[in-house]
Symmetry: C2
Amino acid sequence: MSPALNVRRAQSRDVAAIVAMLADDHLGAGREDTATPLNPAYTAAFEAIDADANQFLAVVEEAGAVIGTLHLTFLPGLSRKGAWRGQIEAVRIAGGRRGDGLGGRMIEWAIEECRRRGCVLVQLTTDRSRKDAHRFYERLGFEQTHLGYKLTV
Amino acid sequence: MSPALNVRRAQSRDVAAIVAMLADDHLGAGREDTATPLNPAYTAAFEAIDADANQFLAVVEEAGAVIGTLHLTFLPGLSRKGAWRGQIEAVRIAGGRRGDGLGGRMIEWAIEECRRRGCVLVQLTTDRSRKDAHRFYERLGFEQTHLGYKLTV
């Protein structure tokens, strides 16, 4: 049996490690800034996330190192009889830890956390090009029911 | 020229009208509860939305009646250099007012509100079966870049 996942709320000292994981990805590479010192836009974003009780930026730690991250948001809404939804964004695993089931355990943790918070639905989108991610979420029980649109403003 | 859209933050007295619009839809009909008095789950959800500065449940009013609604959420995140995103959910137009461009004006209002709040991206998902909605968002400049997954918990 796998040992329990060591998941916790991210702290400001984790932001550089999270940004490094966001950038270590074929889509993220062109979008992020891994310069040192850290771009202050990341620090400002972290503070906004951390101040909001409906945001849970999670990191997975192992032997003192951050090896995974995901960002959960709990969304109130009137639809579906006032249902809360959990939304998962920015799922990343550190390079050396991919392919051994850690991602699946992180998503299962996220689903359980959504349930604990009273959500009746968990939702996420993935880029059309991430074919492996589509199979991954389908294996975990997600249904591909929606199309996701974006507009840069 | 069309007169300016009269959009405002929803108040508790608007909830029944919003629920009626959510239910007046081929997918919403089976999901919502239009009984009187209003199911208290809607009131509780409204209070959670209204208490959160990153939620903007909007209604469009005309001659004292609510004729449209959408729910905007402003989401902080580390991705894309700490970009804020605007997310649009639960877009509905009252039955008698569909087909005269009101929906497009509401989405343009929402995009402008996201810009005003510093978002760099506006995102939404629509059910795969809503073919008219897909064309509608594409005409407004949205790109269908993602697949949307849901899991009931």
